[in-house]
Amino acid sequence: MMRFLLKGLIRDRSRSLFPLLIVTMGVSITVLVVCWVNGAGGDVIRTNARFFTGHVKIMTRAYAEQADQMPNDLALLKVNELIAGLKKRYPQVRWVPRIRFGGLLDIPDEQGETRTQGPVMGLAVDLINAESREVKMLNLEKALVRGRLPRAPMEILISDEFAKKLGVPLNEPATLIGSTMYGGLAMQNFIVVGTVRFGIAPMDRGAMIADISGVQSALAMDDAAGEVLGFFRNDLYDPATAHRIQSEFNRRFEGNDDEFTPVMLTLEDQNDLGTALRIFESASSIMIFIFVMVMSIVLWNTGLMGSLRRYGEMGVRLAIGESKGHIYGTLILEALVIGFVGSVAGTMLGLSAAYYLQVHGVDISGMVKNSSVLMSNVMRAKISPSSYYIGFIPGFLATVLGSMISGIGIFKRQTAQLFKELEV
């Protein structure tokens, strides 16, 4: 009987091809959109985490309150000791010290006089230590446009766009003019050894990437750092663990009113990323919900149309001796086949399109030219393990649900009435 039904299903295109196309299209669009939302959302979260927020971040309480102003006079002290303790207590997290600073980068001429200068947003990270993963974390090798990565504390990278604007040649000195941790004037010569382009508008406008030891020396921040960032070792943000570590860490300093007391924030507590994370998560859920509803209605309608067209066939089958229950069962069986094949095809199609967008992406640099939001200029989809079933399950469910609802018409209709359709 199964073979018989499948033959009919394959031969009757209005029963198979049309619903199959609808399911395939719906599932592929769902997979693509969810991958895209994941990619775009994940990109914003990842980029922020990599450059500024970490998965968790420790600052002094006072620094945290004015973090936007990069108040290095409120930085953490005895950072090496702090990090050693953190490594011991939370081995699942990789801890790295960072200093964010602002200043003026002065480019001298042959006589040592100012030729040109511009404001820079500096980021000091551990670039030289062999054990450090910061080069990889910031993707510096790929971001490098000209020159090489720093090998010494006083070597720096600057944004390629910034370098072009100021006409900075490579391997020439550049002077950072800023303020020390104690409020004094800081002037330090660095050598520009390379230029970078991250594809992130705020970072590409005027960034300076330096080794943390050089900046500590320049800003008189020995064994100090503005922030200590923590990254989970698998590079994936885990909200539950982050919150657990945060409350455990902060509990230790409860009741301490000192403004230099360290405080831990999770990724979600910073830059409104918690809201962003929730928006991206609910966007996926909403997409899937809308998909199931719309597809159910469309497939229900298709099922109804098909059933109306097939009342004659139902009448014959009833007359031959098939029960209503059996006919209903075969309609569900057909839906299972259509749902399965359509969902598999849709998933494959959606994943193919998502893979293309994951590799090639869509260049939105024109739209984010003056943006202060930390996001890539090339938005990409992201295929995750859930992408393989995220469209399949609703596609399958919607088809069966649509068929179940439309098939109820058979039960509601009198047998003789169904049979009468034969005369039409």
């Binding site: 009919g8 009448g315 009833l318 007359a319 031959i320 029960s323 229950g325 003789a416 034969l422 005369e423």
Partner: protein, 233 residues
């Protein structure tokens, strides 16, 4: 009556709601059909022929009275039991053939046997025999759209006869056929009736059919007005 009664219709009434009132399609119908009969229920359109056939075929139930088919009271049957009765004992032939267009001749005839759960080898023998009865052995791969009206009706007969039912109910089986095809069909059914002892009950007002009948039940406005034995050709 030729042999033992296999269908008994006792004081059957059937009404349908119509607007605010109701329309009575059958009134006080009392009939008995025996094994091997070749009987026609004749009458003008709206006389209740199809309604009576539907009740005998367990597709509908009487509003009043009872219909007993193969010893089972139609009124008491569940949906599943009614389907089982049709599956085992009844065959239907329709005016518009009602072959399933996506299946070929062989597959159309195969469907009742699949529902009976017959093994494939026996099924194949039965299908080929049924198609042989109606002279369509050379058309097994054809789809209904590739056949003439007469051929389609012969496939419908093969489909009704393939499980060798006790009773075949035929609703205006020649209405869409020309004279030559009508006679061909009727002769086929007559031969099967004689060979297999199947009871044939026709709902018809076609004179060509009436000439083949051995018994004619006349209906008018839902009432039996005559029940007579016929002298066949």
């Amino acid at each position: 009556m030729d042999k033992a009664a296999i269908i008994t219709v006792e004081n059957v009434y059937k009404s349908f709601p119509m607007g605010t009132g109701e329309f009575t399609a059958l009134k006080e119908v009392n009939l008995t059909f025996g094994e091997g009969e070749f009987t026609g229920i004749v009458g003008p359109s709206g006389s209740g022929k199809t309604t009576l056939l539907n009740i005998i075929g367990s597709l509908d139930v009487p509003t009043k009275g009872k219909a007993i088919v193969m010893g089972r009271n139609i009124n008491d049957l569940t949906q599943k039991e009614a389907a089982d009765l049709r599956n085992r004992y009844l065959g239907f032939i329709f005016q518009t053939y009602n072959l399933l267009p996506v299946y070929n001749v062989y597959e159309n005839v195969e469907l009742p046997l699949l529902l009976l759960g017959m093994p494939s080898k026996e099924r194949d023998t039965a299908i080929r025999q049924a198609l042989d009865w109606v002279g369509l052995s050379d058309k097994i791969e054809s789809r209904p759209a590739q056949l003439s009206g007469g051929e389609c009706q012969r496939v419908a007969i093969a489909r009704a006869m393939v499980k060798k039912p006790k009773i075949v109910l035929a609703d205006e089986p020649t209405a869409n056929l020309d004279a030559k095809n009508s006679h061909h069909i009727l002769r086929t059914m007559e031969a099967l009736n004689r060979e297999l002892g199947t009871t044939f009950i026709f709902a018809t007002h076609d004179e060509k059919v009436i000439r083949y009948l051995r018994r004619k039940v006349s209906l008018e406005d839902g009432k039996v007005v005559a029940d007579q034995s016929m002298k066949t050709q």
